[in-house]
């Protein structure tokens, strides 16, 4: 599970460089996220614009990552494609995250 990281102003942008976050990679995703958010203090925006498919394990891994954020850091999501957006809405997890149409929106 490859994540790439950059900064825009005070925000850490973490991009998922994979087309799927599913049961096969959910644990790897959680581990990679834990490492990626360990340093720094600002808000984190998870860029999902490459992710075409997510299942309930992948969703659970994103929720777990949010819960494991270091004190004072928030996790927001950006760039959800239709299949991913559908899973968030159907499970009502769209209500516990701030969702942005794109990384640019998240930073404006």
């Amino acid at each position: 599970m490859q994540l790439t990281q950059r900064q825009i102003e005070l925000r850490d942008i973490i991009k998922v460089e994979a087309q799927r976050i599913d049961a096969a990679v959910a644990v790897q995703f959680k581990d990679a996220m834990r490492t990626a958010v360990a340093e720094g203090t600002g808000p984190v925006v998870l860029d999902l614009s490459e992710v075409e498919f997510i299942d309930s394990s992948g969703l659970g891994a994103i929720v777990a990552s949010m819960k494991a954020m270091p004190e004072g850091r928030v996790l927001e999501l950006a760039g959800l494609l239709p299949a991913v957006d559908k899973v968030f809405r159907m499970t009502r997890m769209d209500r516990i995250f701030t969702l942005h149409a794109s990384v640019e929106d998240a930073c404006s």
Binding site: D22, A23, F53, D55, S56, G60, A61, V63, A83
Partner: protein, 151 residues
């Protein structure tokens, strides 16, 4: 006569697959199906719902019926008509608790981050996205029969 024995509707694509009981095999199968549907210009090639339901149903077998043990088969018979996926899934693992499908109610949203649910979404998604859904325990096998609209 069950749905599977009827003649396929016009424009249908039929797949019979048997995969190993691992989450990686599920991923590979789903990507493979999507590629074949797209190559055949089938409507399901650009639809998401069937893939969500199949992923949840098969991973449920991997995680619960086979308790994450690899090396067991999951057999699938899938008919993709232009408007509906009809699926029959068989495994040789543990039966459903009480020999019945879980209720599939959505997990409660917590008041704080710590309270948020990390699981329990799978059956909720399956129930919400299927047209028909039936579970049978038959001769030491589990059978799940379901259909999903191609939206």
């Amino acid at each position: 006569m069950n749905k599977w024995d009827q003649n396929d509707p016009p424009g249908a694509l039929r797949f019979e697959r048997r995969i190993d009981s691992t989450s990686t095999a599920v991923s590979v199968l789903l990507c493979d199906l999507r590629n074949e549907l797209q190559a055949a210009n089938h409507r399901a090639g650009s639809s998401d719902t069937w893939e969500i339901v199949l992923a949840e149903a098969i991973n449920n077998v991997v995680e619960h019926a086979y308790m994450e043990h690899a090396g067991h088969p999951v057999a699938l018979k899938l008919v993709f008509s232009p408007v509906l996926l009809t699926a029959e899934m068989t495994d040789w693992g543990l039966p459903m608790p009480n020999l019945t499908l879980p209720e599939g109610t959505a997990p409660e949203i917590g008041e704080t981050a710590e309270d948020q649910p990390e699981g329990g979404f799978g059956w909720h998604l399956i129930k919400a996205l299927t047209e028909q859904l039936e579970y049978k325990r038959q001769d030491s096998t589990n059978k799940l029969l379901f259909s999903v609209k191609i939206d």
